[in-house]
């Protein structure tokens, strides 16, 4: 009794009940398609976020006031990052390739005929190298812009296209919080539209911001405050040392003991990357598990229909046994049927799932990443589903007593 023979018998039995077989296959198709589509989309999303974060530089250490994470929104004055903290860090911490303090607010930005709200960030010239910005048009901000409190601004690509509609913005005037600024440069787009893109930012000299835009919001007990400090460590390996040194400096600046809550978050891109990717992979696994449940339901469908089929074909089984079929031939015959059903479902499901992932990518929602391991995983899983849910009905069929089976009405 060859395998080929069994497959032929199985295919004939499946063809004999076309509608029933197709509906059973449909259950598996939907399950496998869901697994393939969701895992591919999840993977694509993870890769997208990862590449965005990596685009900001892997040596980057970010210092920010962590007050936004406190429950109830209570802020304490000790958690305010000061301009003097930046000076102390710049003076005392080793292994720093660049350090860029900034103050960020949301401001209304207007031209003569358009107004919109953007992130306005007061920066120093080192911001360009630390956060890996590059200039598309014009120039970046210089230290003399800051020293002379010049009202000049560098705008992101999105801001430029929003406000100037394709006109060359260099030399034109924008009003930030009703103060006139001259656009001197446009940032090159980072090509991503995620939450960390700089394309919607307006950069101005930090000193100009303190003097003309931010006002009292950027002062605490008459000291200038910062939203954050971006530090570029000399090497990727030195980021951990930089983090601990920065924390030490902040503790001494704010008179905090070793056991006090620091009130600031000091983190590297690497840490952020790992926490982000753990979030996205958890989400992907969750989506995959939900899709897996539908695959399980499809498997139960196979089992159900095979049990019905065994009952219906009781006499056929009795006859096969009477003419000499051993138990294992009957077992194998029904297993081949269920595995065939699930494999057909697996192949169609992979095709459908890949198509869904392709459409999502085509529509520009998320660049889905269909990888071989996802395909192999879902194909193997669907075959195992067929095997697992086929064993019980096949075993039921194989242990039928031929005499009783032949008399079954």
């Amino acid at each position: 009794m060859s395998i080929l023979n069994n497959i032929r018998i199985a295919l004939r039995a499946l063809k004999a009940n076309k509608l029933r077989s197709s509906l059973t296959v449909l259950g598996i198709v939907i399950g496998v398609a869901a697994v393939v589509a969701l895992l591919s989309i999840g993977k694509g999303a993870t890769q997208g976020i990862t590449s965005q974060v990596e685009g900001m530089g892997t040596n980057l250490v970010t210092v920010s006031s962590s007050r936004m994470f406190r429950p109830g929104g209570v802020t304490s004055s000790s958690a305010t990052l000061l301009y003097s903290d930046y000076e102390a860090i710049a003076a005392k911490v080793d292994n720093i390739a660049g350090i860029a303090p900034y103050y960020q607010t949301q401001e209304s930005v207007a031209t003569s005929n358009r107004t919109s709200t953007y992130s306005v960030i007061g920066i120093t010239p080192s911001y360009e190298s630390v956060t890996l910005q590059s200039i598309d048009l014009g120039r970046f901000l210089t230290s003399s812009d800051g020293l002379t409190k010049k009202r000049v601004a560098v705008i992101g690509a999105t801001v430029s296209s929003d406000l100037f509609q394709g006109l060359n913005p260099i030399g034109r005037t924008i009003k930030i919080n009703n103060v006139d600024f001259e656009v001197v440069g446009v940032l090159a787009s980072k090509g991503t539209s995620g939450f960390m893109s700089g394309d919607s930012n307006v950069l101005i000299p930090l000193e100009t911001g303190y003097a003309k835009v931010f006002g009292m919001r950027a002062r605490s007990n008459s000291k200038y405050t910062l939203s954050g400090i971006s530090i570029s460590a000399a090497t990727a390996e030195s980021t951990d040392t930089v983090i601990s040194q920065v924390e030490t400096v902040l503790r001494s600046q704010h008179g905090l003991g070793l056991n006090d809550d620091l009130g600031f978050s000091v983190s590297s891109q690497a840490q952020m990357l790992s926490s982000l990717s753990s979030i996205t992979s958890t989400l992907t696994a969750l989506l995959g598990a939900i899709a897996g449940i539908s695959l399980l339901v499809g498997g139960i469908g196979i089992m159900n229909i095979t049990l019905v089929s065994v009952t219906e074909r009781t006499r056929e089984i009795g006859l096969r046994k009477a003419v000499g079929a051993p138990r294992k031939a009957i077992l194998f015959q029904f297993l081949v049927e269920t595995v065939t059903l699930s494999l057909i479902g697996g192949v169609l499901g992979i095709a459908l799932g890949s198509a869904i992932a392709g459409i999502v990518t085509f529509l520009g929602l998320i660049t889905a990443s269909i990888t071989l391991d996802v395909l192999v995983l879902s194909f193997t899983f669907s075959a195992l589903i067929g095997l697992f849910f086929g064993i019980y009905p096949a075993w039921q069929a194989s242990k039928l007593n031929p005499i009783e089976a032949l008399r079954y009405e």
Partner: protein, 253 residues
């Protein structure tokens, strides 16, 4: 040749033991045509299951072509059925949506015959039963008599030591039934095929050369029938007794 020696079969029904067969001994030589007759509950179905290697006796010996069949494992019994036994059933039991040829090939798929030989042998078997021109027909395109002929071809295809026919004409009208009986007699005469009928109908039984009558699990009579009825002979009036229109059954006391 098949030989049963003091076969018993005991079924347990709760605490009760039912002695379906109680010491049956019989020997059927090659080329014999025998009827095993008895009323319901006489043990003839149990005996047929054991003779057909579908079941094993509780005690006693059973030999098929000198091969012991009692106490065999399920897979060994299956192999014996594949090589030595041909079954013909009252219900025909053909696979639906499957051509006559493929129905006849079925036993050969389980005995290791090569696919090319399967087709040749199945064609030969169908020719023997006179259905050479119906090989591609499906069971629902065939008459009852033709379906039973396909079933007989299927039973013959593995050249069995013994052809076991369980009420082979029970589902057929008397004319078609007579044709099937004629076919069995031809197989017996020209091919020296060993045929065993299992029936409750004494008229059918009298078509054979030897009638073994079972009663309560024991052999009541084992007699030679010197003048077997020729197939096609009308059923005598005294054997038409049933009110439900079936062939009459001679009720044994």
């Amino acid at each position: 040749m098949i030989e049963a020696k003091a076969i018993t079969k005991i079924y347990k029904l709760g605490d009760d033991e039912v002695h379906a067969l109680d010491g049956v001994s019989l020997k059927i030589n090659d080329g014999e045509m025998v009827a095993i007759m008895g009323p319901s509950g006489s043990g003839k179905s149990t005996l047929m299951a054991i003779l057909g290697c579908l079941d094993t006796p509780t005690s006693g010996e059973y030999l098929v072509d000198d091969q012991p069949a009692a106490g065999l494992k399920e897979s060994q019994l299956a192999s014996l059925r594949a090589h030595k036994i041909g079954f013909v059933f009252q219900q025909f039991n053909l696979l639906p949506r499957t051509s006559a040829l493929e129905n006849v090939m079925l036993p050969l798929t389980y005995d290791g015959t090569k696919i090319k030989d399967r087709i040749t042998r199945a064609e030969e078997a169908l020719e023997t039963v006179g259905l050479k021109d119906r090989m591609k027909h499906h069971p629902n395109q065939l008459s009852g008599g033709q379906q039973q002929r396909v079933a007989i071809a299927r039973a013959l295809v593995n050249d069995p030591a013994i052809l076991l026919a369980d009420e082979p004409t029970g589902n057929l009208d008397s004319k078609t039934g007579a044709e099937i009986m004629a076919l069995f007699q031809t197989l017996h005469c020209s091919k020296k095929q060993t045929v065993v009928y299992v029936t409750h109908d004494s008229f059918i039984a009298r078509h054979t050369n030897r009638i073994i009558t079972l009663m309560d699990g024991k052999v009541l009579r084992d007699e030679i029938n010197k003048n077997p009825i020729k197939a096609g002979t009308p059923r005598p009036d005294e054997l038409i007794t049933n009110s439900n229109g079936n062939h009459g059954a001679e009720v044994l006391q």
